[in-house]
Amino acid sequence: MTSDARRLQTARALVVTGLILYVPANVLPVMTMTVVGDVEPLTVLGGVQELYDSGLWPIAAIVFLASIVVPFVKLACLSWLLMLQGSTVLQRRRGALLRVVHQVGSWSMVDVFLLSILVAVGQLGAMASVRAEPGALFFAAVLVSTLFASESYKPRLIWQTGDPSSA
């Protein structure tokens, strides 16, 4: 098997992994914030909702875009690009799309960094605490798999037409 064929296979496997993990990443809570005895498990969307409710919609919009829209759009675009692999339609556009996806993708790390800053206060006694929850693991796993997927699907592969495994 050529190294290009292996790259394609890796990218496909990682995109499928990302799509599967996307579900628990968004359904399970990523953290629990306890404020004066009020225990609140928050999913990614719950965190956005909380920001929106407190009237800070620009910040809510940033987090919503970065942690819900970007991972989904990235997975959708990569699946579409991988499905069209080998064909000659829209090659120029596909190359441009892949570059954008690669650039924008890392912004979903906002939520992971945010979690790490919030968890730092986790040991401030009974009044307020923040704990990470299993959703965080799935969320991080989605990020890592999409990151490596777009790293292994190089734009030059778009310009290789025909079956790469026979090449």
């Binding site: 906002v110 790490s116 968890v119 730092a120 693991l137």
Partner: protein, 210 residues
């Protein structure tokens, strides 16, 4: 008899970094760019300054700022009289202690190790190019700098800090510390350094040094 006119230079071909199509190279005016005809990607760009000094200066500043950003607290949080000041590593340790070590490793890599490797290797390559020193491992350092570019996520960390302050404001009293400023300046420094990093000029210098 007039001297024979010099033969036209044979065309030089370079391969497009994106789609590997052969592109015909030509002399470029300062600020000019050569684009691939097939995929439209920038193949080569002639910088206006022909200098790597600005990029080197910004990278040096960035390395210093990485140290500052990691040893000064980015924010302090106060709830019911308990005060705590947070460094970048405090959060990483917090995640470790709660058993979420894969997430902790991801944060450590994308927030500290990746940016340090990226700026460090960039600094090494730029220093060698500016001082015209043929130091060992330049190719590897250049390769590392390219690989680490997408792992320099300090700008993303800066945005996360803003969101964190907003969130913590709901729990208690939170205030900015000088470390947050270093994080913001560091992200600007690395963004501008990447912008000023002249790939074509670096390649030329590295070839001359090898």
């Amino acid at each position: 008899m007039s001297p024979p006119s010099p033969a036209p230079e044979p065309p030089r071909w370079i391969s497009c970094p994106e789609c590997e199509a052969p592109c015909r190279d030509r002399e470029l005016p300062p600020g000019g760019a050569l684009r691939c005809r097939r995929c439209g990607v920038l193949v080569r760009k002639q910088s206006e300054t022909q200098s790597l000094q600005p990029a080197w200066a910004l990278t040096s500043a960035g390395l210093l700022l990485i140290v500052l950003a990691n040893v000064t607290p980015i924010l302090t949080f106060d709830v019911a009289g308990n005060t705590q000041s947070n460094l970048i590593v405090t959060g990483i340790f917090g995640l470790f202690r709660q058993g979420y070590w894969p997430v902790a490793l991801l944060v450590a890599f994308a927030g500290i190790v990746g940016p340090a490797l990226h700026l460090g290797s960039m600094w090494y390559v730029l220093a060698a190019c500016c001082l015209r020193q043929s130091w060992p491992g330049l190719r590897q350092a250049d390769h590392l700098a390219e690989r680490m570019e997408s792992w320099n996520l300090v700008p993303v960390y800066a945005v996360a800090t803003v969101v964190a302050v907003v969130k913590l404001d709901m729990l208690g009293t939170v205030s900015w510390q000088v470390g947050a400023l270093w994080v913001v300046i560091l992200s600007l420094c690395s963004l501008f350094a990447m912008q000023l990093f002249d790939r074509d000029l670096v390649n030329k210098r590295l070839e001359a040094l090898a």
